[in-house]
Symmetry: C2
Subunit: 319 residues, 2 copies
């Protein structure tokens, strides 16, 4: 079989065209709120995983665009709610939904989107796809609650961090890939392979997100930098810097996490201390480890073109 | 067949015992938040509809308690979110969830509950039950958005009011009854009958809720009275009082709805004017009409004991 590489590859464009021309919920105001979020950008990694997994199963990506779109929309709905509770003013460099539409519409828009997605996925897909998708949403919210409970907990270990990141972030990447494979008719070992890939990728993705929050700038990541530290989140650079840290460093972090000085100078000082205690270097190593795990999980895909594209997306985290 | 009335009838106690002894989500903090809401009271009408409909299908009510509980929990989750966006401090006379747990946990708790319910219902029930449940949640949130858009719209007609109440309130009563009948193995005409009953009951229920908001007192309804008017909602007494109203009354309502005087005296004056323009009497008539429609829909149930209990619940709205 001759591989038709060029037209099949541009999954991002396929997804964007779908959202632009075919996406609409039953409520015009909510469709508009979602479209504004979508227009602000995003790499559409979750729906790309769905389409690539469908391709790995031998199915045409174009047949699975609505399912792929659900994955991005679950993510969008959780972001809309996050921005309400965080009183965020911007998201991906544009106004947060709550700024343009108010808190009421934002909470309702997220709820409606969840319900609209499940209403459609239960109409169009047999078990277990609706179950995998709702279990992923349960994981996301459970993970966010666990993260809130862990705020400022300097005793949080790497295993607990990975459990939280697994629920909050990796679960939806795993579900996106698994659902695409199932919808495409993949055998169980391929479903398991892309699910494992999505899960390990998701852990790496969250770790890299934590890293960028300390090392990048607002223009690059589209949100204020040092945010995680200001919110007293336990991110992976903090967890890794604390492993075997001296008493002075730990004491300084304790004062930061229990205090209320979140000035740019203080935050920059904490970032520098995390760096000098190896937290940033160790984070990059951990990202690379999970990227390696993700790629290794793809062995059952043999030399399918989808495998190379999955690998390229994972490697991009290391760029 | 001898009807075993006594033990079978106390569905409320069955539901309460289920929540008390068998209900737990995967997140202890969220289970606790839900249990506080449940402990504050409620008549459990939605789960009772599920159990009665299962009985009408010839199934033992006790076999369908988890499904019945999902109906109450969908309702509880929407209330938790409503209280966040309304900045409500009390619900059923006790602290709103956001007061005890904060806005973040409250938004996440509602999201988690929705996801947890769908995760379980998709694992335990075949199509179309998960679809009916998610479509009902889409209706509820869609109806709430439509209600927000209709705030202060004095041109809102009875038909539009009924459409909004149908989505916001009646849809879940209809789904609760329909899912119980389907799970119990009822024939299509019985499913349709209890669904129609639930829908008409839900419209009557919302109209009566609107009525009580103008005529009851805080101790009776467990929330501040005149709330709907203060929020500039278009409730059925307002819609009906405006039908054929004189210019002076309409002008006064316009001033109230566009102004910012929501003092107890002003609200009491508006309620009195709605009453003298027939809005309250017409509302009671409309409630009775929908109760009549609800009861008439039950004809396919013949003389099943469940029918009498459905009728008693509907008639209680007229007491």
């Amino acid at each position: 079989m001759i591989q038709q590489e060029a037209p099949r590859r541009d999954l991002y464009a396929l997804i964007e065209a779908y959202f632009r021309t075919r996406f609409a919920t039953g409520n015009p105001l909510i469709t508009e709120a979602v479209n504004r979020m979508l227009a602000a950008g995003g790499k559409r990694i979750r729906p790309r995983f769905t389409l690539l997994a469908a391709e790995a199963a031998g199915a045409p990506a174009g047949d699975h665009l609505p399912l792929a779109a659900f994955m991005e929309l679950i993510h969008v709905a959780t972001l809309i709610h996050d921005d309400v509770v965080d009183h965020a003013t911007t998201r991906r460099g544009v106004n947060a939904t709550a700024v343009d539409f108010g808190n009421r519409i934002s909470v309702l828009a997220g709820d409606y989107l969840f319900a609209w997605i499940f209403k459609n996925v239960t109409a169009d897909h047999p078990h277990p796809i609706p179950h995998i998708l709702s279990a992923a949403l349960a994981d996301i919210t459970d993970g966010e609650v666990l993260q809130l409970k862990a705020l400022g907990n300097l005793d949080l270990g790497v295993e607990e961090y990975v459990e939280i990141a697994g629920k909050k972030t990796a679960s939806l990447f795993a579900a996106s890939a698994a659902c695409g494979a199932i919808a495409g008719g993949a055998p169980a070992n391929v479903v398991a392979a892309v699910r494992s890939f999505g899960y390990a990728y998701g852990i790496a993705f969250q770790m890299q997100d934590d890293y960028l929050d300390m090392t990048s700038d607002e223009a690059t990541v589209g949100k204020p930098v040092g945010n995680d530290l200001r919110e007293k989140k336990m991110t992976i650079p903090v967890v890794l810097a604390l492993a075997g840290a001296d008493r002075d460093f730990r004491g300084d972090l304790e004062r930061y996490y229990t205090g209320d000085d979140e000035s740019p100078e203080r935050v920059a000082g904490i970032v520098a201390a995390i760096g000098s205690h190896g937290g940033l270097t160790a984070t990059r190593t951990a990202v690379a480890e999970y990227v390696g795990l993700a790629k290794a999980a793809l062995a059952p895909l043999g030399n399918l073109p989808a495998r190379a594209e999955f690998v390229a997306i994972a490697d991009a985290l290391l760029a």
